[in-house]
């Protein structure tokens, strides 16, 4: 029905509704724009769009785990980001060119003796750049009349404006990724295993020797038993007045045998004691090594389990996101997947004829 066909009262009411709708739309748009401006401002502050930056570069053997946008750290702070990672031409001395920017005021810490460390970030081969604070060199950046000057010639102490000089090169100290370090550690453990096995073999040998020694001692004690019986007889005879008067004399050969036996027994016991001390020392060392190995392995397993948890959570959340998008009013038409036809009883017409 056209508007002019309505009663004045209805027309007034409709125009009031239109005004209210217009005001609502205006308010919503303003709210949206305010939010957007706030977000932009926040992002600019966070990303440091209006903070002065100075570019540096370095050369690495490999760009593995590094990409543009990765943070650069200094003393544990995020002080900039990588802007470029490029392979050098094939016959160049260096392999990979990495350029990065450092924000104000952190470039003030970077002197000519500052180094770029490439440290391992995680167990998945990720790495990051960390610049070290200068100690005894010259500052790479100088501010004069609110202009940034970058060191152009360290020997002459010559500084050029940033617009002209562009970037300054720092020396890199590259360390392998955690995975490589882990691999090396595993290789070392693998190499050490024969030694550990050798130790266990030696322990086994020592124990065998101790057993043999104890068996010998036992035999010796058994052999000495008649001697002791004889000694008892002799002492009983010595208590006899006739024996004590020299009617009965201790033969010299028996005396010598007793001395020899006792000396031998003493030696055997000392040897056994020494061997036992050695065994205890070796066993202690072995147990300490084993404890260290298991402790390291435990730490690795704990770290990996955390990573796996994170990956699992990531997969679950990605799935939830996709499921949500599938139900979204705008996108759900894109996800109308092919559904399986319901299973039916199969009946196929037969060609038969006169058969």
């Amino acid at each position: 029905m056209p508007l002019q066909d309505l009663t004045p009262e209805l027309r007034t009411r409709l125009s009031r509704v239109e005004r209210a709708v217009g005001a609502f739309v205006l308010l919503a748009t303003l709210l949206l724009l305010t939010g957007f401006v706030y977000y932009l401002r926040h992002t600019a502050e966070r990303k440091g769009w209006f903070i002065p930056k100075v570019s540096y570069y370095t050369y690495l053997h490999t760009g593995h785990g590094l990409k543009a946008g990765d943070p650069v750290k200094l003393m544990g702070f995020d002080v900039g980001e990588i802007t470029r990672v490029e392979a050098m031409p094939p016959f160049e001395e260096y392999d990979v060119f990495v350029e990065f920017r450092v924000k104000s005021p952190y470039y003030g810490y970077l002197w000519t003796d500052s180094k770029v460390k490439v440290a391992a970030a995680d167990f998945l081969g990720g790495r990051y750049l960390e610049v070290t604070k200068g100690v005894s060199g010259k500052a790479t950046v100088r501010e004069e009349n609110q202009n940034l000057l970058l060191l152009a010639d360290a020997g002459k102490g010559l500084y050029e404006p940033v617009a002209k000089q562009k970037h300054y090169g720092l020396e890199a100290v590259e360390s392998p990724a955690v995975t490589d370090q882990l691999q090396a550690m595993v290789a070392k453990v693998e190499a050490a295993l024969p030694g550990i096995l050798g130790i266990t073999n030696r322990v086994n040998d020592v124990l065998t020797s101790a057993t043999i020694a104890i068996t010998n001692l036992d035999a010796t004690v058994l052999g000495a038993r008649p001697v002791l019986t004889n000694l008892a007889v002799i002492t009983s005879q010595l208590r006899d007045p006739r024996g004590s008067l020299g009617e009965w004399l201790i033969p010299t050969n028996i005396n010598r045998q007793v001395q020899t036996t006792l000396t031998s027994a003493n030696t055997t016991i000392v040897t056994a004691n020494t061997n036992m001390v050695e065994i205890a020392a070796v066993l202690k060392r072995t147990l300490e090594d084993s404890a260290q190995i298991t402790s390291n392995l435990n730490a690795q397993v704990q770290a990996n389990s955390l990573i796996l948890n994170k990956i699992s959570a990531l997969v679950i959340h990605s799935d939830e996101l996709m499921q949500g998008l599938k139900r979204n009013w705008l996108l759900k038409s894109s996800f109308t997947g092919v559904t399986n036809e319901p299973v039916k009883s199969i009946v196929v017409p037969a060609i038969g004829g006169g058969k």
Binding site: R84, Q323, R327, W329, N340, V343, K344, S345, I351, G353
Partner: protein
Amino acid sequence: MREDRGQKSEIRSQTMFLLSFTFCLLLLVACSSAPPPPVVPVTVARASYAAETARKLSANENWSAAVREWQNTVDRYRLLNDCANEAIALHNLAQAHRALGNLDRAHALLEQAADLNQQLGRADEGWRNQITLLQVESQAKQAAALEARFARLAASPPPDSQPQLQGLFFNEFGQWQQRQGNLAKADETLRRAEQAMMKAGDRLGLAVVLANRARLDEAQRKLADALEKWSRARAMFESLADPPGIAASLAGEGRVLLAAGQNLPAAETLLRRASENFHTLKMNDDRADALRLLVECLTVQKKTAEAAEVRKVLDALRTSGAPTRK
């Protein structure tokens, strides 16, 4: 140069970020998401998955695996007391057993499925069971059972609202009448089957009925009509890419040409191609028929050496007792 490229890529990435942010904001403000679909119980999902797997195995003619999977499906639906789906699974399990040559087992399973569908009042599914039972009994040459079943079913055939079932039933009924020697009645029944298939839009069914009508024409010695129908049937099977139908049509055309004594070289070619196709399809009974006709065709053309060679192949086939595909 590198600097310019870096700045451009930075501007581009920032623009993309702003665009995507605006798009996400729009989605966030203007979206009205549908509620998530109800969660299907695990047991039901497992049963559906088993049925879907079994269906694929049957479609790929991996019959021994299909038997296992359909049995699994039957068990799972039985646990859920889902009798409708259990009956479907029983029917398809019977079809898999039938393909493996276990006709008695197939018959018993089909009877079970038919009973379940009768209890549930699912007439359409019940008809599908009955038609397959007719095919199994025909294959097992159980003449008495077949006659009794046809007598019971022909009294109240499938309704007009189910043209496909009607077409399937009349196709079986017409073949049975032909075997009984009632050629005129068989012709009428197969015509009804053809009309029903046409109404249902079942192109494979239509091609099969046409092939059966061609066989009937052969039996009535209407060789020209038979040749024309075989030719049409072959074209339809070719358009449907149905190898057994194509092979049967080639053999039919060759057989009619030989019976008419016309264009024997063409008949020879058709029969050779048919026998090769039957060989590939492991349809040994049909291959033996085609080879026998080929021997006859070669003998009529006085190609005695070739006929002897084909006869050797035929004898070897008969003595080998190789398993045949139904």
